[in-house]
């Protein structure tokens, strides 16, 4: 079923009809005939297709980078889509100039994606610093430059912007006056308002069977089918606070993205250790779209958020004919099978707020540290009472057909004293609980050794002096 679409693309209003599940990149390149956004992989892994999606929040524009190749076009309804073509108006902008000056572009195929990501960074950071700007490029790969020239170019842009400091203009005005973005950006809030689109109502199609969250799994795996399917786009389903606390329970809407989870004041306050590891999840544009619900329902054995939520002993609230509750560690029944009936939708994820003194750690090993799927991951939640483990939850990914909660190891650890011998024995039990297979992410022997070491790594991180190196080898 086609859907009516009204949005602003760069400077222009676009009113059209689309198959909502179609890849946004195809729409941009083929329908809008804007070819600056490139297709390098169609799986969210290269960033050549990066675009900005701008939304009004309290009268301010919030821009986020996304991989257009795996975003359903229906999700841009009522928003501002910015492609590389919309980032310079007649003359190159400052970031582009710095790229040219530093030779930060060679073959040029990746370059539009880098420029878009960086403009996105500057739009959302009033106090830009080099390290953060580099972090915002974790979703862009370049095969030519080796990145040194890119780092130099960014550095120059930051210095340039700082030197333009002084007057107390709004950030966006400063970006315009410093030639980081074209002037038309200033009118966008007003123009978006005038569209009078109710993003929530005008996108969601509750009747369609095929649910799409962020699409970061679905559009990688089955884009050919999704392109013409009837889809229920739930990404914009929840427009209010997605993470709340009620009676000591933290309630997280399934449509919460990893970015929103990371930035949530509640999570920062109660689970600060988690937010420190979230840079290991995908890339910024992936995190901007990947929902927690999608992560759980996709049921990949190496899902990182699921690993974390297992260690937080999360409960799922599922909406269907009735509303049901099920513990995450009892949810999966086999490889990609779970206790979810057709037509049911994951609505909420509940976790108990952690006890005082609780510790958390997440470990993930992949071929490449940034933007990669885990070979093995593991999360631990621990409460220690006078050197004794009073509460513990432990999960492991990549070592079984499902995201695994290590029941036996947890049973063993409960009530034990924190000591090297305890951990060693626990690791032996863990190795009996898992069934890793050899695949493109590593041999089964490697995954076993890795998980053993990650158990030690959990404790080495939480109790730095506890591990005796000589006894590990």
């Amino acid at each position: 079923m086609k859907m009516n679409l009204k949005f602003i693309c760069n400077k222009n209003l676009v009113v059209t009809e689309v198959q909502p599940g179609k890849s946004l990149l195809d729409f941009i390149r083929k329908d809008l005939r804007l070819t600056g956004s490139k297709e390098g992989c169609r799986e969210g892994d290269c960033g050549a297709c990066t675009v900005l999606i701008g939304e009004l929040e309290n009268d301010r524009m919030i821009y986020k980078t996304v991989n257009s190749c795996i975003m359903p076009v229906g999700d841009i309804n009522g928003k501002h889509l910015v492609t590389i073509e919309g980032l310079s108006d007649g003359k190159l902008n400052q970031i582009q100039n710095d790229f040219v000056e530093q030779g930060a572009s060679q073959c040029g195929f990746c370059t539009p994606g880098f420029i878009v990501s960086l403009c996105g960074y500057f739009l959302s950071n009033e106090k830009p610093i080099l390290k953060d700007a580099i972090d915002s490029l974790d979703g862009n790969v370049c095969r030519c430059t080796g990145y040194e020239s890119i780092r130099n170019a960014i550095n120059n842009s930051i210095v340039f912007l700082e030197s333009n400091e002084g007057d107390s203009k709004r950030h966006i005005e400063k970006l315009v006056s410093s030639n980081f973005i074209p002037e038309y950006f200033l009118e966008i809030p007003q123009r978006l308002n005038n569209l009078s689109i109710d993003i929530q109502k005008d996108s969601v199609n509750g009747d369609a069977k095929q649910i799409i969250g962020g699409g970061t799994d679905l559009l990688v795996q089955r884009w050919e089918e999704i392109e013409n399917a009837d889809v229920n786009l739930i990404f914009n389903l929840h427009q209010n606070e997605k993470i709340t606390v009620e009676d000591n329970i933290c309630k997280i809407k399934a449509t919460t993205t990893v970015s929103e989870f990371w930035e949530s004041e509640i999570i920062k306050k109660y689970l600060p250790e988690i937010t420190e590891s979230l840079y290991l999840f995908g890339s910024l544009p992936i995190r901007n779209r990947a929902t927690l619900g999608g992560n759980i329902i996709n049921a990949s054995p190496i899902a990182d958020m699921t690993s974390i939520l297992l260690a937080l002993d999360a409960k799922l609230i599922i909406e269907g004919n009735s509303r049901k509750q099920i513990k995450l560690n009892e949810f999966y029944t086999g490889y990609k099978t779970m206790k979810l009936e057709p037509g049911e939708i994951l609505d909420d994820i509940h976790i108990e707020l952690p006890d005082e003194g609780a510790r958390f750690n997440f470990e993930k090993i992949s071929r490449r540290t940034y933007l990669d799927i885990a070979s093995v991951n593991s999360s631990i939640y621990l409460v220690i009472d006078k050197d004794v483990i009073s509460e513990v939850h432990l999960s492991a990914g990549g070592v079984a057909p499902i995201p695994l909660y290590l029941f036996e190891t947890v049973n063993y650890l409960k009530g034990k004293e924190i000591a090297f011998e305890t951990i060693k024995s626990a690791a032996e039990i863990t190795l009996k609980e898992i069934k890793p297979i050899s695949d493109a992410r590593g041999s089964s022997a490697y995954k076993s050794l890795m998980l053993r070491n990650l158990l030690f790594a959990h404790f080495a991180k939480l109790f730095p002096n506890i591990i005796v190196v000589e006894e590990l080898i």
Binding site: R29, T35, G36, K38, G40, C41, E43, D45, C46, E85, L92, Q96, F99, V100, Q102, G103, S105, Q106, C107, G108, F109, T111, P112, I115, I134, L137, D138, N140, V141, C142, R143, C144, T145, G146, Y147, E148, S149, R151, V220, E224, I365, R368, Y370, L371, D372, I373, S375, A440, R441, G442, S443, A445, Y446, M450, N453, F456, A457, A460, I467, I473
Partner: protein, 753 residues
Amino acid sequence: MKYYDTTQHVAGKSQFIDDITVPEGTLYAAIFYSPIAKGKIIKLNIEEAKNYSGVKAVFTHQDIEGANQIGGIVQDEELLASHEVDFVGQPIAIVVANDYLTAKNAAKKNQIEIEEETPILDPREAQRKGELIVQPMIFELGSTETVWDECNIIVEGIAESGAQEHLYLETQGAIAIPTEGGGLKIISSTQSPTAVQRVTANVLNMPMHKIEVDVMRLGGGFGGKEDQATPYAAMVGLAAHKLGKPVKMVLPRQEDMRITGKRHPYSSDFKIGLSKDLKILAYEASYYQNAGAAADLSPAVLQRTMTHATNSYFIPNVKATGYSCRTNLPPFTAFRGFGGPQGMFVIESAIHSAAKKLGVDPFEIQKKNLLRSGDEFPYSQIVEHGNAVKCWKHLEEKINLNEIKNGIAEFNSKSKFIKKGFALMPICFGISFTSKFMNQAGALVNIYQDGSIGISTAAIEMGQGVNTKIRNVAEKIFSIDISKIKIETTNTTRIPNTSPTAASSGADLNGKATELACVKLFDRLIDFAKNELRCREDSKIEIVNENIIVDGVQSELNWNELIQRAYFNRINLSAQAHFATPEIHFDTKKNKGKPFAYHSYGTGLIEVSVDCLRGTYEIDSVQVVHDFGKSINKVIDKGQAEGAIIQGIAWMTIEEILYDEKGKLMTDALSTYKIPGIHFTPKEFDVKFLENTENPFAVFGSKAIGEPPLMYGIAAYFAIRNAMESFNPNMNAEYKAPMTNERVLMALFNRNL
């Protein structure tokens, strides 16, 4: 010193194959390829695909009127498999439809019955079974046999390096448009326009002049589009010719990864002997090159392995034996370094294992044996203008090796799990195609009436900046503003018989041809100006910043006026020139001669940190002193060096190609094959230009830069080992690259892989 093409790139205005607006009625092609690595085709049924709604045609080998043959060096590769399949991904049929998705879905409807045979995946097994692409190659200098006895120590071992995916960000693609008179215009993402033209002409059984190949730019090549862009261009050529309609094909990433060739994996034996004072007296190596199912460029790649067997060292007695082994994997192909890196990894492994046995640092041996002018290479060329020692010294002036070594030892003694390590890598890389005839290029320079210039050459711009360098050459000669100079597309009707843009030689050869053509025009213009301005015979006429200067005095003419008057006076404002590298020769029977115009040198130092509990690592710093000659464009040259270094490091570390036991690629997507991201880049990255160096053999004293720096990356492998050894001195790691996280962890904890 701006890097010109980038002003288009940064604005998203540069056009690649998939961005070009195609003519109305263009059809799209998808490939049906072999799911099996080896077997006989019993039956192929294309009826269902043919009848699929939206499909225009399905082509198989039976539709080829000319030769079903795309092999360059050896005629051993079919465009579309006829009776046998030799690798997973071998093209069998082409499905053409109104749109790509239809073609792709229809291609899945083809049915094939194959009598499956056991594939050979291992090059040593292929060699044992006599499956060789060409006769074994032997390079010999002195006599190793007679000196083993004189050696203080002798070490033997095995060294293996893996395949590497090019991962040019733009995948393979081509568009073929029928032209009047039964010809074709092909727009291709190729490094070798003439190869596309020749092979397509052969396949269609027509003369080459009927086919025009045009190349705008490539979204990266790295060697992957030297030989292997051709089949896709030939396929759309075939389809367009048969249907009389434009046909386009751009490979989706996963398909590109599955069916195209990569850097050759090698398994090699080495034996090295040293004297008491660490001089390498003798070195023997046997290389088992995994060539894949067809020759492609493998023999030439192997030749470069052989010529680079001793890297930057003088070894008086050498015997290198090379086998190009036929296996059932997609034909491996050119990749930056072209076999050189594989050869160098072996000698570095040999040096490393000798150093371990002697209890010295590998760099002591490296330093002791560096090439000097007058030394002889194993192929008997004599070192001229040898800068190996100069680069090493220059690096040591910058950094104190002992300080680094002690600093690392101290850090390691205090750190439980994080261990640091370092290694050095000197390089020496020969510049020229090893096939002599390929060392030629052409340029056509046209000056238009308004003073603007268009230059065509045989060079392909793929990010290496060759177009900018060529503009720089013309800019220098004419002394005019660079905005007046445009580099045209590379087109076989303007420049015939192009050599591929490869072997780092693009700017050397085409820059020189451009220089010759520009000088022709310049001389013509100066003669004309002399006449026009009625100068004395011995007057000195120059062009400086677009002004015509006579004996140091500004004349009445500027560039634009000069050109206009020249035109009205019927002066030829167009010049063509051809350049052929002088003096090179090579006897492929004896494997002796002077195959290289000159050599590039440099020294690199890499430091790393390894997390020994998790088996992960980071590259802390890369410091290099490289001999760029007199750089034409420093921004470009530095960028080439940095990009190559990262690619080399990644080949040695995180990039791993895995096939399953049936020859199917397991790492066939960006989600399983990881190339460096920005966080992988070393925190400190310092590439220094060797000062006061000249190169008489290339344009304006410059040196080729595309490939050589890649080989500094080899130091990353040995630096990681160095760090690992301080965690587990007894680890027994084989010389196997890439040093993935998996290999690190398994070796540290003494597990077998």
